[in-house]
């Protein structure tokens, strides 16, 4: 099971009455100002402090800095929770494989000769050598170069050189590639867990599952990733990347130049009447209607005239295929979905899957794939890829400013680590504030996209899963990595 702090109840989606409920999410009664959280101000550990009376919410900055926190996260989160591994369409044919590191563990993500999807630890059972040293390809076998132990794509032993040197009584029978403990697929999104004792994937995904389904239904013949993976890294804690994605408050000031570019193409960005949602278990959602058009669904001038006509046709096709209400839910708003802990799905003017992989407290590896409609017209495909690249990634016109934000936070939070200005350490200095919209949350009013409610729900879940980390937090030593 997913580790939780003693006494904490499973989190239900908490959309206050009156909130425009996004499709697929049930309205839930407000749960804010009651229960043990209200009493002791501590949610799951002392690094997250909420005060309903004062409508404040703060996160202790050691959560971004301390090696001990990352170590605890590695154990409590990355070793015991479903993680996003990759998309089925990255390995379309039998024998296709990709290698990537997830939760610090090198893996082989592959499709066997019968078409089944696997994830193996990329370490030879013999002596631990990296078994597959390519990043991608197609093969019938994985052969370790060191001593030539060889395995089929289904994981079974194919060859053991000079077998006579081993015990005859079945030594080789037990040899196979070591699979991850659990693997499950939802709408092409492949998740794995290193812990066999986790709830089913759909239980873990909860309210987030239907948003993956919605995105998967945009194309009448499905969706596929494309080649060309953006692989980069930022000098910031992984949780800063999560916050940034759930934070509509930053958009106008941080992306001033991108908003200006859109204005010049004939599109005016607005933040009015848009909302963020707690999907439970750390998952979050921001629904945006004023930030961009949507290729094939909502036209904007930079998409060009021929795309305007195609948009009308495609939107009608979606209504016929999905029904009017469902088509509206899928097509008429952009969505940024966060699936705890490492998946971000940007369903915006075009679509990007982003995977987070912590490397150090202050460094995070990022992989980003473009997600496109199967069999869409070539000119639409090109428009989609070009439009998305103009925004996202380390070379886009917007993401570099987000990266600047994470990196500036990661540098800035060392200023308050274990300091005070009266001769003694002042523990009140070393907190980051996420109170915006807290009074509305308390009063069960809608959580605006430009508030910080989806960040708070992430941090509440994080604090319950991670629990207390000795030496970190306000009572800690202030020693940071």
């Amino acid at each position: 099971m997913t580790p939780t702090a003693p006494g904490s109840a499973p989190t239900a989606p908490t959309v206050p009455p009156g909130t425009p409920v996004p499709p697929g999410l049930r309205a839930a009664p407000p749960s804010a100002p009651t229960g043990p959280d209200a009493a002791d101000k501590v949610v799951g550990n002392s690094m997250v402090r909420q005060d309903w009376a004062r409508s404040t919410f703060r996160v202790h900055r050691s959560a971004y800095r301390d090696a001990a926190v990352l170590h605890r996260e590695s154990d409590r989160i990355w070793s015991h929770t479903w993680l996003y591994l990759g998309h089925e369409t990255e390995i379309p044919e039998p024998g296709d494989f990709r290698t990537r590191t997830l939760g610090g563990r090198p893996l082989i993500f592959c499709r066997d000769q019968d078409g089944a999807v696997h994830a193996y630890l990329n370490a030879c059972p013999h002596r631990g050598t990296i078994l597959c040293r390519e990043t991608e390809g197609r093969t019938k076998h994985f052969q370790c170069f060191y001593h030539a132990w060889t395995f089929k794509t289904s994981g079974e032993l194919a060859a053991l050189p000079d077998k006579a040197g081993y015990p005859a009584d079945g030594f080789a029978d037990g040899l196979a590639l070591r699979s991850v403990a659990r693997l499950a697929v939802h709408e092409g999104f492949v998740f794995v867990s290193f812990d066999p004792d986790v709830p089913d994937l759909l239980t873990h995904l909860g309210a987030a599952a239907d948003y993956l389904t919605m995105t998967a239904s945009i194309g009448p013949r499905g969706m596929t990733t494309t080649p060309g993976v953006q692989s980069y890294a930022v000098r910031g804690n992984w949780k800063l990347a999560v916050e940034n994605a759930m934070d509509g408050y930053h958009f106008a000031p941080t992306h001033n130049t991108f908003v200006g570019y859109l204005r010049e193409t004939g599109f005016a960005v607005t933040d009015d009447d848009q909302y963020a949602y707690d999907l439970g278990d750390g998952h979050g959602l921001v629904v945006l209607t004023g930030h961009n058009g949507r290729i094939g669904m909502i036209w904007e001038p930079r998409f060009g005239e021929s795309e305007r006509i195609r948009t009308e046709q495609k939107r009608a096709e979606m209504a016929e295929r999905l029904g009017a209400d469902r088509a509206a839910a899928v097509a008429d708003s952009s969505k940024i979905l966060y699936v705890f802990p490492n998946l971000l799905l940007f369903d915006l003017e075009a679509l990007t899957i982003r995977q987070l992989e912590p490397a150090e407290p202050g460094a995070t590896h990022v992989r980003a794939w473009q997600l496109v409609e199967v069999d869409e017209p070539a000119e639409t495909r090109e428009l989609r890829l070009r439009t998305m690249a103009s925004f996202v990634g380390p070379g886009g016109l917007a993401t570099p400013d987000d990266i600047e934000a994470y990196e500036a936070v990661q540098r800035g939070i060392h200023a308050t680590s274990g300091v005070g200005f009266t001769g003694e350490v002042d523990p009140e200095l070393d907190w980051s504030d996420m109170s915006r919209g807290m009074a509305d949350e308390k009063a069960a009013r809608p959580g605006r996209s430009i508030d910080e409610g989806a960040m708070r729900s992430f941090w509440r879940h994080w604090s319950r899963v991670v629990g207390e980390v000795p030496g970190s937090g306000p009572a800690g030593t202030g020693v940071s990595a």
Binding site: E136, P227, S231, T257, Y261, L385, A389, L397, P400
Partner: protein
């Protein structure tokens, strides 16, 4: 293999034979303009309608029409990028990175009339926020020959790095 820019040149071109020294001078001048952040003068090295590309580190010849890229600017976006970088609200480059480019191994790959294909190796050292970053790339450009010099039709920088490491963003012009 890259997509052919849809370019209708409204400029007088020249079919004179271009040698390596002229290409070197062009690329050295470009490097100087970028290292000194003279972005308007840099943009003037392109013909209207030109494009700029930086493929991802796993690219095996895929075009921007079929694959994810770090940068695939058409002419509108290229001008928008320059406008953005000149703004003090381009936070990722305010303050600006210090960059230092070394361009070498310049060669003329082919000339067909006024169209020139050139290659070069480039190392860009970038300094910001107390950290140093090294970008190693291959230039794979298409130029057009004008009576008074050369201009970019397609400016393509192909990273050699296996991935962009921590802090190695492409907020500047690679």
């Amino acid at each position: 293999m890259t997509a052919q820019p849809d370019l209708t040149l409204d400029l007088p071109t020249s079919e004179r034979t271009v040698g390596r020294p002229e290409v070197e001078d062009f690329l050295y001048r470009e490097a100087h303009l970028l290292d000194t952040w003279q972005l308007d003068a840099w943009l003037a090295l392109f013909v209207p309608g030109a494009t700029m590309e930086v493929p991802t580190t796993d690219n095996r010849g895929w075009t921007p029409a079929e694959a994810g890229y770090f940068v695939c600017d058409d002419w509108d976006l290229l001008r928008a990028r320059v406008k953005r970088l000149k703004s003090r609200k381009a936070h990722a480059e305010n303050p600006r990175s210090r960059t230092h480019r070394m361009v070498g191994n310049v060669c003329v790959v082919a000339q067909e009339g006024a169209e020139l294909t050139v290659g070069a190796n480039v190392v860009v050292h970038r300094y910001r926020d107390g950290a140093a970053f090294t970008y190693v790339a291959r230039y794979d450009h298409r130029l057009v020959v004008l009576p008074d010099g050369l201009r970019f039709v397609l400016r393509r920088a192909v990273p050699v790095n296996e991935a962009m490491g921590p802090g190695e963003r492409l907020s500047f012009i690679l």
